[in-house]
Amino acid sequence: MQSRLVPYFLLLPSLLFLTALFFVPLVQTVSLAFHGGDNFGLSNFTRMADDLNFQDAVVNTFSVVLVVVPLQLAIALGMATMLRHLKRGRDIVLWIWSIPLGISDLAAGLVWLAVLTDQGYLNTLLFRLGLIAGPESWLTYETPTALFIAIIVAEAWRATAIVLVIIVAGVQLLPREYGEAADVFGATPWQRFTRITLPLLKPSIQTALILRTVLAFEMFALVISLGGRNFPVLVSEAYQWQYVNQDTGVAAAYAVVVMLISLAATLIYLRVLRTPREQLP
């Protein structure tokens, strides 16, 4: 009897911790979002949706996520496959590739700002090469395409490593027999990749996609440092309403929207990428 209860006792601290520091604030945030002034209702959501930056924030957030997440997955798969074929020095290459994992959001943003600002490294390089006559601006409201590309590049640089690490872990678990069998039947490398590696990697890809997508919907510091006021996203708007406009209700409404989007994305991944038990490697 007692030994059956032990696991629950061991789980108790983490459950208490999550309840106090995650669940309670979550309930409070949702309740804040639905209390405009003294009334219960949708007034915070109406104000959020009526705001001039709301539409931009939604469009910007989704465009970045839709471009950057598939891009990161493709890059990470490519990198993982390359790693697999390395005979020597795999660890050191993997180690170098994971450096961005240890760099904070804000630091990454500032690094790229130093590269892309008017007097930055990129302009210096282009100028030395004789490609531009003077400083070019990349991050202004007049250059939305360049700004968007800059954010995609910076985000890919910063956060591909997490996808890579998950995929590499998955690749290492793949049994060699399937590949060898495919070789026997004369499969091309591309066929091996699409017919064997990818389907077997589905659980890892699912994990990587969920993690990356949820985090991408929450992007903030990098976008703020590169785009400032020019590239509003959902979380930066939540920050703006909380700390600049000092309206906690609307900020909470944004938080609820971000949470719902993340939940929906997670559910979609769970459903679309589910692997039947019998297909697990």
């Binding site: 001039l52 008017d118 006021r229 600049v244 406009n245 000092q246």
Partner: protein, 434 residues
């Protein structure tokens, strides 16, 4: 076991004793010393400067205590209601003292005002210190404001007949256009970044300069002209402006040649390269050279334990030499007539010159920081930034935008009931957008 228990208990006891001792010492200190409670000069370094540099020459003993604006107001009110005052002298911004006057927490200072007449505090500032009551409620302490700085390389491009001290918004537009025509670059800059103070430019400079008011005249035809003209000026503004928070940085790097900002956000540029820059007041519009004074005042709490000490401190802090020390050590400027020493840091000298030129301009039109908005201050600022974004960045028609934003403005005043402040005419109830 018992030994550790004993050790623990004795540790606890000694800790309690230490705490109690500290408490007693604290109480003892506030019995003898004049307590000076301030919302200004809060950062550790500045507070230390107040204690060790500014108050060094004062004969009496002072406890300099700082608090953020919101807890400051709560504390003063609580002390008044409980009748157990500890703070004698209160130092805060004009807008922070006004609500304290409204609840009757401040003692009248008319005698002190007469006594300090020879200090030469400008009459308009003294009048602000009356908070519209007819009695002196606070004595102006120190001030700051916003002004413009230009790189000397930009001066040859000034339009014919234009002078820096009497610049108008139209001339500023022409000046920036001339610079762009020759250099091919947009060299005018505004702090429109996420942490920039551009909304203060609209609230205290552009809108009152065109309309003579802030809230009541928000959607005046004159306001439409002002915004339309600013959109014209913006054509010559460096597009990186929406990333600028402190204009001293792009000024120093040479990305902009002319810039507007708060003195503390320009001072670095002036201090590092005083020979490269000139400083001058913000431009004037049809209704005058509107500017936003940031004025801190000194008041004495009603029921203060040491009103004589507080009055003596006000006398001390408003001495010209102490005011100069204040400017040198913390970057806030004198309110009294003070002869600045010839060896003053040349950067500081430039800032002082611009502030004094702003105040003493014949067409000067002081327009104050928002008063009585409380937590809605952020939304008030947002109205101006949204208007800017829609008219200037997105090119929408000023008329429609101002109509829509006027609704947001009305809502803020309906919720707070805040009365109008200068230069809007005084209102009996909440301030109304006409």
């Amino acid at each position: 076991m018992t030994q550790t228990k004993f050790a623990r208990r004795s540790l606890l006891l000694s800790a309690t004793a230490l705490l109690a001792g500290a408490d007693a010492a604290c109480a003892q200190g506030s019995m003898d010393n004049t307590v000076f409670l301030s919302t200004q000069l809060r950062p550790l370094e500045e507070a230390q400067n107040v204690r060790e540099v500014i108050l060094k020459g004062y004969a009496g003993k002072v406890d300099y205590v700082v608090d953020e604006p919101a807890p400051f107001a709560v504390r003063v009110e609580a002390e008044m209601k409980s009748g157990r005052n500890t703070s004698s002298l209160l130092g805060a911004l004009h807008g922070e003292l006004q609500p304290l006057e409204a609840i009757g927490a401040l003692a009248p200072l008319d005698d002190l005002a007469t006594q300090l007449k020879d200090r030469g505090i400008p009459a308009p500032l003294m009048k602000l210190g009356q908070l519209g009551t007819g009695h002196q409620v606070y004595i102006p302490w120190m001030q700051a404001t916003y002004f413009m700085v230009a790189n000397k390389q930009a001066l040859p491009f000034l339009p014919g007949g234009a002078k820096l001290e009497t610049l108008t918004y139209d001339q500023l537009a022409q000046w920036a256009a001339n610079v762009q025509a020759t250099t091919g670059k947009r060299m005018l800059g505004f702090p429109a970044g996420p942490k920039g103070l551009l909304y203060r430019f609209f609230e205290g400079f552009l809108c009152p300069a065109y309309t003579g008011g802030i809230v009541t005249t928000f959607r005046d035809p004159a306001a439409e002209t002002g915004w339309a003209n600013f959109a014209e000026i913006w054509k010559h503004v460096n597009p990186n402006s929406t990333n600028y928070n402190f204009m001293q940085e792009p000024l120093l790097s040479g990305d902009v040649w002319m810039a507007f900002d708060h003195v503390t956000r320009l001072l670095d540029a002036l201090r590092q390269k005083p020979d490269d820059f000139v400083s001058f007041p913000a431009p004037a519009g049809p209704k005058g050279r509107a500017y936003m004074p940031v004025l801190a005042g000194l008041a004495i709490a009603k029921g203060a334990p040491d009103p004589q000490g507080a009055a003596a401190l006000i006398d001390y802090l408003s001495r010209p030499e102490v005011q100069i020390t204040t400017a040198q050590s913390v970057g806030f400027f004198p309110v009294v007539k003070a002869e600045l020493p010839p060896n003053l840091d040349p950067g500081l000298k430039l800032a002082v010159a611009a502030i004094s030129a702003t105040q003493n301009a014949p067409d000067a039109l002081p327009s104050l920081l928002p008063i009585g908005l409380g937590a809605k201050g952020g939304e008030f600022d947002k109205v101006f930034m949204d208007t800017f974004q829609l008219i200037v960045l997105r090119g929408q028609k000023p008329h429609a935008v101002l109509e829509k934003q006027a609704e947001a403005m009305r809502r803020i005043f309906a919720e707070t009931g805040a009365p109008c402040w200068s230069p809007d005419p005084p209102s009996t109830g909440a301030c109304q957008v006409k």
